[in-house]
Amino acid sequence: MVRLRAICLCASVLGTALTPVQATEFAADEFSLKATFLYRFAQYTQWPPPPRSAMRFCIVQYPQLLQALQRLPIQIDAKAIDAGPALADCDVLMVGLSERRALQQWQTWLAGRQLLIVTDNAEAYRQLGMIQLLTSPDGISFQVNLRRTQSRQLNLGSQLLKLAQQVD
């Protein structure tokens, strides 16, 4: 119940033209909330030059989140990818897989790339994640691996870090 209210809140604070009907449609969708958080993470993150003209969200094995991103009332450039070469024009990577071997493969592909990597499972966060979304009865929170973001020359906003449940 608390989580549902949190989802409603999220929907109401996001975007500029959400109507009550649209909010109701999003209400039961946890993925929408995660999509919103993903969008906000990108807003609080600063990439090294040159500046990005448009932000691209790449989703790995997480079709529900891709759909949720596409349903947000703002225009978001999001696509699903399944291999390393597609990472070339990605800024934010949402990893849905949790298989260790696959993650190791992605780790190889991601070497040296300046991407913001977000996941909602512990294994992916342990191997290559910078931010992990945590779901609890009270709602959604997140933790941050600051060393990884710094190693990829990304700067997370202090407000974001202040709200993180844990910063490693």
């Binding site: 109401s12 604070v13 807003q43 709602g139 906003g157 709200l163």
Partner: protein, 421 residues
């Protein structure tokens, strides 16, 4: 020219001027303080509002992430921190749909205005609303309501302190004003004392000292001139009065004394007899009236002339006067008639003895123009209250007694007796 030494002492003029100056000073300070307080209060409120607006902007910035990530706990912690500021009444974070996301305390003031951003104040409170923006996107708003009681209290404390300082300053100013005005008004006070002294003592010989050639100096000069004129007038008047008094005394003497013998005359006798009768009656004493008529005086006038007669009268007067006490009074009633008033004689016989002595003194040999003057004296006596207590009757009785003595032979005396009449 004597000048009265000045001793300046506080007079009503100094006190009145001091009071007036203090009143004006206090009034001016009071109005100034009121105006300053009003201006200070107005500017302080505006400044307070401006500061609240800036702080609310900052709070909105701080709250953006909490609102974006729906972190109510973080938002409330932020609000709690902010609420520790003095004068903050309540805080509220609204989402875009005007639902309260977080607040401190739970119940908050209603919105004063339906606008996204405003800053308003009334007499004791202010309210600021600012949108919470994130990347050019308005995600909600924060509303801060603050009390201005602290500001008001601070201003009142300042006013109280200022009031105490003003009271102390006014007290010091009153002492200083009193001293300064007493010094400044010293010539005027001195002049007033001078006039007061002159009026009280009727002494217009005093003069004021001209210290400066200012208004007071000119006033002193005019007063000195006035005193000088009055002094001259006073001297003239005194001289005239003395002359008049001398003239009056001469007239009085002429009216009441006999110019030939220098004795009191009949007019004076007619005044003194009733007075003496009334006095002895009141004091229960005895008054003797001796009526004296010279014997052979007509012969002296006829034979040796009036000059000799006048001289005889003068000698007789001296001789009789020499027989009397200081309290006895001798009158020349006219011609060769004399009278003596003896008060408090004790025994009537003493008056009879005196009459005999008077007769003997007159009968002493008197040589004029190589001739022995054949003058003598006959005396009639009457006593008050034994014979009468009426002055006219007493005189009549003495006169009758004198005629009885004349009939009995000259150079003798008789006491009034009803039997012989």
């Amino acid at each position: 020219m004597p000048v009265k030494p000045s001793s300046v002492r506080p007079l009503s003029l100094v006190s009145r001027l001091t009071r007036l100056n203090l009143l004006i000073l206090a009034g001016t300070i009071f109005i100034t303080v009121l105006l300053l307080a009003a201006v200070t209060w107005h500017s302080a409120r505006e400044r307070h509002l401006a500061e609240a607006a800036v702080n609310t902007e900052q709070l909105a910035l701080n709250l953006a992430a909490s609102l974006v990530f729906l972190d109510k706990a973080a938002a409330e912690a932020e609000l709690q921190t902010y609420a520790q500021r003095q004068d903050v009444l309540d805080l509220a974070v609204y989402q875009r749909d005007m639902q309260i996301f977080a607040s401190q305390p739970a119940k908050v003031s209603p919105l004063w205005l339906q606008a996204d951003s405003y800053q308003l104040l009334d007499w004791l409170q202010l309210q600021v609303r600012r949108p919470i923006r994130f990347k050019a996107e308005t995600v909600g708003s924060v509303v801060v309501t603050e009390s201005m009681a602290g500001l008001q209290q601070a201003l009142l404390s300042l006013l109280l302190l200022f009031g105490l300082i003003v009271i102390l300053a006014l007290f010091a100013a009153s002492r200083l004003l009193h001293l300064v005005q007493r010094k400044a008004l010293a010539p005027v006070v001195e002049l007033a004392e001078l006039a007061d002294y002159a009026a009280r003592q009727q002494d217009y010989s005093i003069r004021g000292t001209v210290r400066r050639r200012d208004e007071v100096g000119r006033l002193t000069e005019r007063l000195n001139e006035l005193f000088k004129r009055i002094e001259i007038w006073q001297q003239d008047l005194q001289q005239q009065l003395q002359q008049q008094q001398q003239a009056r005394m001469q007239l009085d003497k002429l009216a009441h004394s006999d110019h030939l013998t220098g004795l009191a005359n009949r007019l004076f006798f007619e005044t003194e007899l009733p007075r003496a009768v009334a006095y002895v009656a009141a004091q229960q004493q005895t008054l003797a009236l001796l009526f004296i008529d010279l014997d052979n005086f007509k012969t002296v006038n006829d034979r040796w002339g009036h000059d000799a007669g006048d001289e005889v009268l003068q000698i007789v007067a001296k001789r009789m006067q020499s027989q009397l006490r200081q309290t006895d009074r001798l009158f020349r009633l006219g011609g060769d008639e004399f009278a003596v008033l003896l008060t408090d004689i004790g025994q009537p016989e003493w008056a009879m003895q005196l009459a005999d002595r008077l007769i003997q003194s007159v009968r002493e040999p008197m040589w004029l123009k190589n001739s022995l003057m054949p003058v003598g004296a006959t005396v009639g006596l009457a006593f008050c209250p034994q014979d009468s207590t009426d002055a006219a009757l007493l005189l009549q009785q003495a006169d009758q007694a004198m005629y009885q003595a004349k009939r009995a032979g000259k150079n003798t005396c008789r006491r009034f007796s009803d039997d012989e009449n």
